[in-house]
């Protein structure tokens, strides 16, 4: 039996013409990635859920404006997510409810099925360091480790060359190493 192939180009055309099912297919394909991206950028599941819904709402409202310029659709979605996360951080810092360093790493909402996601103390420290990095470097680490993307794929999404991504990644590792040293974080767990 021939397998039904997901033709993104075709699905995008249909979605941009208002086909609800086509948008549903895009939603099913990218919901996981966008949620993970937002989760690691915000640090809590409740806000990640809220922002993810807003990303897709915005994507749906503007999908008729989307034009394929050789950049993958995922890059467009990540761009929306990036903007919404930036707004979220800005609102949060204006309200000054909780300092960014104290953003809870573990979910606070009891009924969330992902509440079992547990990080060790050293992982929490590392996540806090990651969240202090400039947004572009955070994006890079999330795409590389959470999404397992290659430098070329990351470059497409971030609008950079493969070499530039490689270089940025190296500088990010160096920055993390320095911060780990400055804060005496022991990654060996000893």
């Amino acid at each position: 039996m021939p397998e039904i192939e997901f033709n993104e180009e075709d699905v995008l055309i249909r979605a941009s013409k208002g086909d609800r099912d086509a948008f549903g297919q895009l939603y099913g394909r990218y919901i996981d990635r966008i949620f993970n991206y937002v989760y690691y950028r915000t640090g809590n599941l409740h806000d990640a859920e809220d922002l993810t819904a807003r990303v897709f709402q915005r994507a749906m409202n503007h999908i008729h404006n989307y034009t394929d310029r050789g950049v993958p659709f995922s890059a467009w979605l990540y761009r929306i997510a990036h903007n919404l996360v930036a707004n979220w951080h800005r609102d949060r810092s204006r309200r000054q409810e909780i300092p960014l360093n104290d953003v809870p790493v573990l979910p606070s909402r009891g009924d969330h099925p992902e509440r079992n996601l547990v990080h060790s103390q050293e992982q929490e420290s590392l996540l806090r360091l990651i969240r202090r990095l400039p947004p572009e470097r955070q994006n890079l680490l999330i795409l590389k480790f959470v999404e397992n993307m290659s430098n070329a794929e990351i470059g497409q999404i971030m609008g950079r060359s493969e070499g530039a991504v490689k270089s940025l990644y190296h500088r990010t590792l160096l920055a993390l190493r320095d911060q780990i040293g400055d804060q005496n974080i022991n990654l060996d767990g000893e």
Partner: protein, 90 residues
Amino acid sequence: MTKRRNKVFEDQLDVIEAHLAGTLKRVPLSNDVIQRLHERIHFPYREEIASRLRDWNRMFLVFGGVMSVLLLVITIARALFHLVGRRQLG
């Protein structure tokens, strides 16, 4: 000496990479969350919008309603202006 330093340097970055790989893991999304998110997104059918615009009875009612409310507002405004204006003149 330089080779040894480079080796230490590379080892440090390898350790950080290993920890990043262990920390930045994909959070699995349950079907409940996917469904909940799906329900939060409202997607109006274009056909639905178009059919509303083609529904002349409905359009006539909406247009008539808007015009009636506008006339009412203008009449009240004129009446108030007339009353207040007359008092001020008197």
